[in-house]
Each structure stands twice: as C-alpha cells, then as structure tokens.
Amino acid sequence: MNPELLIQSVVLGILTGGVYALMASGLTLIFGIMRVVNVAHGAMIVMAAYVSWVLYKTFNLDPIASIVVVMPIFFVAGALVQWTILRRLGGRDLTLTVLVTFGFAIILEGLQGSLWSSSFQAINTPYSLSSFEIGGIYVPLVRLLAAGVALVLLGALYLLLARSNLGRAIRATTQDPRTAALVGVNVEQVTMLAFALGVSMAAAAGPLLGMIFAFYPATHWLWIGKLLAIVVLGGLGSLAGTFVAAMILGLAEQVATVTVSLDWAPMVFYIFLFGVLIVRPRGLFGTTARESL
C-alpha cells in the first residue's frame, strides 16, 4: 500500500465528509423536531444544485455565492410546505408524513427531469479543476472550499441552536413539545421554522454538491441513502453525531476506494449502518441527541 495514496484518500475523505455533514445536517434537524425522516431531503439538495447551476450559467453567479440566494428561497419554500401540507398531518401516523415526503422526492425528480433533462450535469467554474500540492498530496480547491463553507454553515447552525431564542425554542420542542408549549413556546411556529431551516441547510449543500459531483435528477436516491446512513450512525436528531458520522463515513468511503475495492466503497455506508443498528440502535450520539441538538 502506497502511504502517499493513503494520505491522499484521507485528505479527500475529510473534505468530502465535511460536505456530507452539511448535507445531512438539515435531515437530522428535521427528524429531531418532527420525528419524521424527510425522504425528499436528497431531492431538495439536488434541486438546489440545479438552481445554482442555472444561476451560474445564466448570470455567471459563483456557486458558492449562490448559496446566499438559494438558502432564503428554500427557507421560504420549506416553511410553506410545512405550514400548508405537513402541519396538517401532524399528530397522525408518522408513516403518512414519510410517504408525503417520498412523494415530494418523486415530484422534485420529475420536475428536474422535465426542466433540465436527465443528463449528467456539473457546475464547472474556472477554478473547478484547480488544486494545490503539499508534499505530493493534492488538495482539490473545490473540495477544500466546499468543506470550509460546510464548516462555517454548520458552525452558524450550531450557534443558532445553542445561543438564539429560536434555537432554544427548537431544542425545547425537540426534547418535549408539550412542556415547551407549557412554557410559552409556539410549537407549531417553531416546528415550521425548524423544518424551513432544515430545508435551507439542504439548499446550502446543493451548490457544493454540484461543484464536486456530477448530478442528474435520479441521483437523489443515492444521496438520501447515504444521508440516512449518516444520520442513523450519528444518532437520529443529533447534530454533533451527524458531523462525526459524516466524517467517519466520508473517510471510510474514500479509503475503501483505494485500499479495498471500488465495489466495496459504496457498501461501506450500509455496512456501518447495519453494524450500528445491531450493536447500538440509537446511533453514536443517540442517547444525548435531544439535549445536544
């Protein structure tokens, strides 16, 4: 085994893991507050990638800068969807809500296919293929930027949840909606805002995905699979757990690509998932999930 190649794959794994963490953060946030797996989360990320791609092609808007545009749009759209549709399902069978988000995923995929065809797309900026070398190890600029942006956004999300009134209300609602309501939290409103926040985190991840990976409408099925593995490994609802799990799986995937085999790399996610379900069904951070979010 070539040590340089191993270090190379570790570097790629860490950078990719950072982006995975951002992608999964909204999913775990939404689960935390609504106890619902948003199956459309991957489709929302891919949608944001398309929007960013269109903005880049039409207005030459840099994909990283486009995050500032897509986040508020998706925040509002997420709030509308939650308020008009998902809220009405609240209190009923949770599987119904999962089915509705499954439906959203299919609708988004169809919409993307009809608007932009099902061809592979990628956001190719002039710096897309730039990289710099440190001691024989190549660090692709786009992945470094994406991981940096992901870290900043995750930090902001953490601060929002930890320090702001909204964050406290979200955490209270996550822990116990009834008690939160008793102490004056408008649970319905907070749930809507938390869902919208989760969707806007998906939106932030979209342009980063579009810069690093090729995407087409059906790719969201692959992503939702990976993202669910991450949030389950981290402990459903735990932001810190999601971050750690994303790092572990991002690393494992890249290292497996160069050390085991390509066939096994995608399987790494599912091997971890099944392992965790058997040994520790709550995930890595599951027990402290409610408090730490």
């Binding site: 070539n2 340089e4 190649l5 190379q8 794959s9 790629l12 990719t16 689960f31 797996v37 199956v39 949770l94 999962v98 299919i106 609708i107 995929e109 169809g110 919409l111 296919g113 009809s114 099902s118 592979f120 990628a122 293929l129 990289s131 190549y138 692709p140 992945r143 822990q175 116990d176 008690t179 990976f213 995407f215 087409y216 409408p217 059906a218 790719t219 099925w221 692959l222 939702i224 699979g225 669910l228 593995a229 949030v231 389950v232 459903l236 890249q254 690509t257 160069v258 390509l262 066939d263 995608p266 599912y270 998932l273 099944f274 379900l277 069904p281 709550r282 995930g283 027990t287 999930a289």
Partner: protein, 443 residues
C-alpha cells in the same frame, strides 16, 4: 414524570425510525440510479409520438404499396434510454431514428406507407425495457422493432424479440452477451463487436517505437457488459505484448465521485489509461485526473467521446488528445452520409456536432429499409433471413452479418485534436483526417 416520559419515548421511537430509515435506504439502494422518474413514466404512458414527418398517413393504396392497409402507417416500436444514466447516448440514437423516419416519409414512405415510431422511455432500466418490448409486440402490435442504447439493455430485450420472431436491428448492443445465445433475429449495426472496439487503439500503441511505447496501463471501468468486453479484449492483447496492468477496477454505473479513483490511478504510475466508460464517467474521470495533475501519455475511452457535442461542452479544451473507437465520423465520405448530416442539421439545428450514436441509429433505419425493400415484405423472418445473406451500405460503411448477427468489419481509431474528433487510424481509411498525437498534450 418528565424523566419517565422520555425514557419511554426515546428508546422506542429511535430504533423504530432507525429501522424505517434502513428500509428506506434499502429501497433507495434497490431503485438506486434506477429511480422511477414521473416525467419518464408520463412519457411512457403517453400516446405514441409521431417521430417526424407528416402525421397523416398516405391517403390511398397504389401499386407502390404492396402490403395493405395502405392508409395505415407502418409502426416501429422502440424502447429507448431517454432518461437515466444512458440518456445522452440514448437520446442521440433516438435522434438518428427520427432523422431516418423523416427522410423515409418525405420520400414516400416504406413500401408506400408512412412510418411512425412508437417509443417508450425505459429510463435506462433493463427491466423496464423488457416489459416495454413485450408490450410493443403483444399489446401495441407494432410491425417492426428497433433496438435500445447499450448492450446492457439490448441483451435482455433481444430475447423478447427472438421469442416473438421480430427482427431486432440495433445500433448499440455489441457485447458478447448479445451474441452468446446465438439469436437469429438480432443484428448489430456497427462495424464490429465490442471486444474489437479498442483493437485500432491497441494496434496503434503496439506500433509505437520501443523507446516510446508505454510500459504500464490502467483500466478503470464501469460495470457494463459492453465496457467489459472492450476492456478485457484490449487488456489481454496489451498484457501479451508486455504492457503491464498496474490498475484495474470496476465501479458501479452510479459512481459520481472519481477523486480517489484518480488518485489511485495516478499512484499506480500508469503510462496510459483505457477508461471503460459510457459518458458521464468519462467526463468525470478527465476532470478528476486534471484536478490532481495526472498526465497519462495516452487516454482511451470506450464510449463518451463519440457523443461529441455534450462531451466537448463538458470538457472544453481538455478533450484534446483523447482517443476513442467508433465506426463513423461526421465528415465521413461514406455513401449517403452527406445527406444524413444535412438532414440531421435541418432537424436539430442546435447540434453542430452530431453524436456518433445518431449515425448508428440512422444506420439501423438504413438496414431496415434495405431489407424491407429487397424482400418487399414486413415479414420479420424474411427480413432476418435476408440480412444474414446480404451486406447493407450504411453511413458507417458497408456492414454484413454472420449467422448470429455479428458484424464483420473493424472500427476506426478517433482522436480529438484542436477540439475536433478526427479519424487517425487505420492509415488507409478514406476518412482519415489527421495523424495520431502521442504523447497526449497536458490537460
């Protein structure tokens, strides 16, 4: 109270949803790339699209219409990869079919009857393609069939055509799996089968002076029957000639992250790369190699570069130096090619560069036209029997078939130079437009 409430709530809800999540993942994994696309389903269930030309059938029977009903069009059934991971080349083949249909209708039709395509989108999924071909034959009762894009879809669908004794003329299914079952009704309309696609490249590499000849090769390839046949054929010959294999790996069709693969190929120190690709993976490989400054002396892709327009759009000047094998080039001097190119541009004016797959689709039409005209029949058995005995002139040159539908010609070596795809070998080919460039210019 609060504590006991949580202790009930958390452990029960969390594992339940965790298992639910696992179920969703398995579901996602199963459908994978494979996802059902509503747009595609809608297209599939929609009424048959009239591909081109006048939708109104010819009004009256005449001596030129030996097979009634002369006021009804001849319907050709197609299950095509119009969405999904094979959509770029699949759409290109479909365009080739459509150009041919428009031409034939403008010229008075096939045996005096107008031609319409009844097409379904199989979403690049083999199971869907199989059920669509079954439906085209048994429910829609089409007169004739054309094949889908890629061996992966041709292998299962050709079995349905064989079962119902329908001639299955196809432009993009040349893997050994297509021919192993020795079908009578399947005809592959390219110059040669998949295992020979890289032959001109291998011959060229081995023709280099010993000092220049590469010593090592890498074979990153997609899990696909056509790709496997091409790559295995090339690898065996190169290894026998002393070019060592330093990297060989198979990735799934859904692979979108090539960073670590590129790092591994680079670390292997391979002089040349034979990428077993379909389209998106060829683009992604080039981008990943370029971003880590890996500069192979030569790079060959099995498929991708021949889908010229989208490939150039995706890679810009990075296409230069990339080799591929194909049976056709836009500037080909083959009989009928000038008309095909003109008609294609008239129908798809935005596509300046015509994808090679479009020529393959058009050739399928030419082959059918020749067989139907010669037999004066829509009898699929007569058509198949005739094709086994007679070569047909296509825009890819003359193609003839053996008893199991394998073509008997050879491919051309093509290379991008100054942003354009040229035939660079064999030296005596009338379409040769440039000499091969080796080593490849840096990305």
């Amino acid at each position: 109270m609060h504590r006991s409430n949580r202790s009930i709530d958390v452990p029960r809800v969390s594992p339940l949803l965790a298992w639910l999540a696992a179920g969703a993942i398995i579901l996602a994994g199963c459908s994978g790339a494979a996802s059902p696309s509503p747009a595609a389903s809608a297209a599939a269930s929609a009424a048959p699209s009239v591909a081109a030309g006048s939708p109104s059938p010819v009004a009256s029977a005449s001596a030129a219409c030996p097979i009634p009903p002369c006021d009804q069009p001849i319907v050709i059934g197609v299950s095509q990869a119009l969405t999904g991971d094979k959509s770029d080349p699949g759409t290109a083949i479909e365009h080739g079919y459509q150009v041919w249909v428009k031409e034939i209708n403008a010229a008075g039709g096939l045996l005096g009857r107008q031609v319409v395509l009844k097409e379904y989108d199989n979403q690049s999924l083999a199971d869907t393609a199989v059920s669509q071909i079954e439906r085209l034959v048994t429910v829609d009762k089409v007169d004739l069939l054309f094949g889908p894009f890629s061996s992966a879809l041709t292998i299962p669908t050709s079995a349905i055509a064989e079962k119902y004794k329908y001639a299955f003329i196809e432009g993009a299914g040349g893997a050994p799996g297509v021919f192993q079952r020795q079908f009578h009704y399947t005809f592959f309309v390219q110059p040669a089968t998949a295992e020979h696609q890289a032959d001109p490249f291998v011959t060229y590499i081995l023709s280099l002076p010993a000092a220049q000849r590469p010593k090592t090769a890498a074979y990153p390839q997609q899990d696909d029957p056509f790709v496997k046949a091409t790559e295995d054929g090339a690898q065996a010959t190169l290894e026998a000639a002393g070019i060592k294999t330093v990297y060989h790996a198979v990735y799934p069709p859904t692979q979108t992250d090539f960073a670590s693969i590129a790092a591994a190929v680079k670390a292997s120190g391979a002089d040349i790369v034979l990428g077993g690709t379909i389209f998106g993976d060829a683009v992604a490989q080039v981008q990943a190699y370029a971003s880590i400054n890996y500069q192979p002396k030569a790079i060959y892709f099995t498929s991708g570069p021949s889908t010229t327009g989208p490939f150039e759009q995706a890679l810009g000047s990075k296409v230069n130096g990339i080799f591929t094998g194909d049976g056709w080039i836009q500037s080909s001097k083959a009989t009928g090619n000038a008309q095909f190119v003109a008609d294609y541009h008239a129908m798809f004016p935005k596509e300046v560069d015509i994808p090679g797959e479009a020529a393959e689709g058009y050739s399928v039409g030419q082959v059918l036209l020749a067989a139907v005209t010669a037999t004066q029949s829509l009898d699929n058995t007569k058509i198949a029997d005739w094709l086994h005995a007679n070569p047909v002139q296509t825009v890819q040159g003359p193609i003839g078939w053996d008893s199991i539908g394998r073509p008997n010609g050879s491919y051309l070596l093509e290379q991008y130079q100054s942003g354009k795809l040229y035939v660079v070998a064999p030296a005596n080919d009338p379409n040769k437009g440039a000499d091969p460039v080796y080593p490849k210019p840096n990305w």
